[in-house]
Symmetry: D2
Subunit: 362 residues, 4 copies
């Protein structure tokens, strides 16, 4: 319900963009996991704003304070809570949006859902800022997964009209292990990255925004994970991925392209590799057969819409006056959320995968 995700790991999230703080409690973690706090900070920094002309000018250090569940350098197994204070808040930017709702944003729907009592400052609970505690939770889960040989990595597959290369079955494990994090825009093809940068800055210059697709893979997963009927791997992953603000599409393996193919092209024939393991020659199904992992890299794509907050004048309504209104959104916004969404997608995947693996019993 609302702020809680998971069956074995339960992640409980809270906070608004301009309130006292945002945070997360993780229930069901194993005890005795040494947490690398620097690795967590690096993940937080990947998502944090202010590092680049490609993102909002809002600057937040996003240093999490662990309040519970962590003692002498190890997880205790009891609920682990992290709090991130909101610091660089300029609430004056947002007062108008309570009435003159931003098209494409949750201003109107949140006002209906919460009968006008929602914290509207900076998008409140609907702000992309709420993904910061998600990244914290994901960073913890990633460290637990890493000990089990599971590594998750994502890159930008496209921004606006610019395409990166797709992950390939032969090389993706190596690519994931190497990581894309060092790049301002994590891509396989550096030229595509440069063109994406241009596309974002061009949109920004025009007071507009652009969308994109993130491709993510988890490697090292055993076969046999997933709980059909209702908790297929795709079901659990898509549930948390669609919680990320701005995500409008999720696809596994060949995804929508499979719909225009033949079965003989999509079946990923099995073979035994040299070590007696069952593998597939292709990976059109993205590592999942019948809702259960087959031991191949788990691959999926996430479509992000262009940022709703744009500087161009837009048609909207005044809820109070019940009449048409014009709106130019001021304040500081990302011209493209895709680069900052990359670590969020990885974090969401890490949470869902650890959950499916059984949480503390993983």
């Amino acid at each position: 319900m609302s702020g809680i995700f998971g069956e074995n790991i339960k992640v409980s999230i809270f906070g608004e963009s301009h309130g006292g703080g945002i945070g997360v409690t993780l229930h069901g973690l194993p005890s005795g996991v040494a947490l690398d706090m620097e690795a967590i900070s690096r993940e937080m920094a990947r998502r944090a704003p202010g590092g680049s002309p490609l993102s909002t000018a809002r600057s937040e250090a996003d240093e999490p304070e662990i309040l519970s569940g962590f003692f002498n350098g190890f997880t205790t197994g009891t609920p682990l809570t992290a709090l991130i204070r909101n610091r660089d808040t300029r609430s004056r930017d947002y007062a108008q949006l309570q009435d003159t709702v931003r098209p494409g944003h949750a201003d109107y729907t949140g006002a209906v859902r919460y009968a006008g009592f929602q914290d509207y400052r900076g998008g409140g609970h609907f702000s992309g800022r709420i993904t910061a505690p998600l990244v914290f939770a994901g960073a913890v889960c990633k460290q637990i997964l890493k000990r089990k040989g599971v590594v998750i990595g994502a890159h930008i597959l496209s921004i606006h009209a610019v395409q990166d290369r797709a992950l390939e079955i032969e090389t993706c494990t190596e690519q994931i292990l190497a990581g894309f994090a060092g790049q301002e825009l994590p891509v396989l093809d550096a030229q595509a990255g440069a063109a994406m940068r241009e596309a974002i800055l061009e949109a920004k210059k025009q007071g507009d925004s652009v969308g994109g697709v993130i491709e993510c893979a988890a490697v090292g997963l055993a076969a046999g994970i997933g709980d059909p009927f209702f908790d297929s791997v795709e079901s659990v992953l898509s549930h948390i991925l669609f919680a990320i603000p701005g995500v409008k599409g999720v696809a596994f393996g060949g995804g929508f392209a499979m719909a225009s193919q033949r079965g003989s092209q999509c079946n990923d024939p099995f073979y035994y590799d040299g070590q007696g393991r069952v593998r597939t020659r292709t990976n059109v199904n993205g590592g999942v057969n019948g809702g259960i992992t087959n031991g191949m890299p788990l691959c999926f794509q996430v479509a992000c819409r262009p940022t709703a907050s744009i500087a161009k004048e837009q048609d909207t309504v005044s809820l109070e006056k019940k009449q048409p209104a014009k709106l130019i959104v001021h304040g500081r916004h990302d011209p493209c959320i895709v680069p900052r969404a990359v670590p969020v997608v990885e974090a969401a995947a890490a949470i869902a995968i650890l959950d499916m693996m059984g949480g503390r019993r993983a």
Copy 2:
């Protein structure tokens, strides 16, 4: 977990393709709902096999027996259970598949997940047959939704290379209300339907199969439904949609196409209509802003992969001998699951939407 879906409505599903029966229990239904049993039978018939050269030759009447929760023509409010017996089962077709696993299917992953104890006959719990109780549950939810003015309808947007027209904002309510159910292939453009029929039969003739995309819409929904952060409308719907066997992609509104657009194209400007209601001029966001319905038609697409069971010879492995094997799948299979998946998608959507509306408190 595994066989249960929902927060307010809880749907508990069970059964294997060739076992004693398949069925479903619905918890959390309102009491006092008169059920139109003929309408339920019509929904079951839409999904049932045997009606067309486009589907498997297996013939199942799929008549549900209601065991509980229904008294004197009305729901009681206590758990409602329906049982569907399996009748036309030819288990001999499947014995080989326990060892020589079908590529693209759950034979291998199920064997790993359940340590070889799964009922492998006819796909067992992974058979598309398990969607029959889902259609029953959806048919019950549809009737409850209809009283609240919510109607759900789906059509085939594409099969292989053949495209139907997409739903349009001006006409889709009318189209949904009219229903597509009368057609063998529910489409907007009859010519496209004929071409789809050809594409399916052509694949069948070649011992192959084809995939497709289903487009679905729910009209009549109030604004304000959905529970972000984790239970966004997209999250809850995608969770159940990805449980349907063969689904590999789910997208809302413009979906993946939004990723190559600008914010100014995707924001769906608000206006007040003549009756003082907030509407949007376009519906690129598919009726959802920030994870909450905005009162416009809720639109999404579901990508179905081609049926995994094909008659062509395929490379696979023998799990027992731990060596390569060749496989030709005999038995009766759909050359394209898309037509029969249409009522399943509608049913899944009906369950998820009634759940989000609050189940018995809706």
Copy 3:
């Protein structure tokens, strides 16, 4: 919610006393468990009516049909469903009770809760009959627990004014393993059993009923089971125990008597036994410290109220006429539910304990 219990094992129950059937689906069972069907039948027979002058004259064989999740003699790991048909139903006995509600029973509260649409025949969903599928589910869980060295047994601690001996720390394991099931009234002190029999028959003769207390223990549990804060061992067990119709009190170890004691009497000092295991010299805490098992026998008591359906004339109301009414309950009722509740308490405990041990991951 309503008909579902558990976190790791999820038990979904359905049915009414006089409907098409009652049953249960177990989700989250391990695969590969050979089920001893005769042992299950014996458990069902312990609860089934008709075997004794101490119980209702209604006679039900209560033979469960397993519909799914069981193949070639083993659990499959997918949802396991059992159906029990209702056969000896005399619905005419109950028609009057829809209006002239029985004091102490759910006739009135069910009518309010379900707005008059509940199946009122024979208590409908509120009938003690719904404990039959619970016993089935518990019998399955018991077999899984037994392989892990956990055995559960219960006896009648008191009926009306007659007391049996309480379980003792030195002997209870032996007593549990020996089982009480062979006795018509499972007790430690045969004389107490005879006196209980008299008390029940005396109440029956007077058209009245009596209550009693059941004492139950689980032996062989490891230390370290339980998930405080909210899912203490006591919380999870009491949740399912209070679902049994007629249960009005649950206590662990010394229970209410501990409230009138001193800490120095209640602390169960630790010691190491010969095999290097931590044990306690007494077991006032019933095997639970801080909501987590300590490896000693898990002991608890369950207080059952006297059967509400009595043959004596009672004051009540007519809901239709909104005026006082007199009621004599006809039909067939147990003068004391305690004897038949013994296997139900054991079953409930088995379900809760297997759930706390992690279900399929136990």
Copy 4:
């Protein structure tokens, strides 16, 4: 699981006695509820230590900071989080207890459950201190319930051998509304209160502790609340009540005494009162028939064991040396937790009742 309770309201709790802080997130609250922060502080003060010679000398202001979900004086409907910092922590008192575990406490079981990684300082997550956020959550729920006409109140029914009068059907509503909060020991009979005080101080003087029973009632509840089979009113309430550290028994209405009665004494005959409402002449069933409220006061008793931490020398073991050990618990402890548990019981009841009423849809 572990730190989360509820279906409609979900309460997520975290913290350890000597960590960074303790707190709670409430999911599923209605929006637009004005919170009386002074009333919340008064509830916190009732539980807080340091106010009396009857409780521990540890002094904590326990001022909650609301981090989210509260804006301009009203609940927003999004997750509401409160944080309470730990201040007066003397961790040196506890270092020894990691090895020489306290009998009757969770030191040993927690060490097993969390493999030695638990925060052992001050009982860590098992400390009674974790009930402070529960009281906060309950105080919020109480305010919501009060607007719906539901008021909850508890008094001390007994401490050691001293008995207070029990609540009576004619007067309990008045007594609950008047509140017992003003008294150091909330009782009906002031003389009993004085004797209880003596009993506590006498135990304290002897380095020992005493237990007691709390009686609680909720008045103003409508008939028809509760979700059998598994979520009977008794099930849901007992689940949260048994989470309170030290609770070993829960009983409704006549409770265990009903086990030695006849049905004719326990059936609470119905009548219509002057306003056309169904009432019962007695309330032996504590306001619950068949797991559903009947509109009478909901009454239950909670048995609390004597505080496990006593100053007397006790036999225990050294986990490290695997040998017997003697223990004298130093530090500051309550000689009786019952007085401070009274507001905790009320809080737990408020959470459970609001949850059963439907949370934000109540």
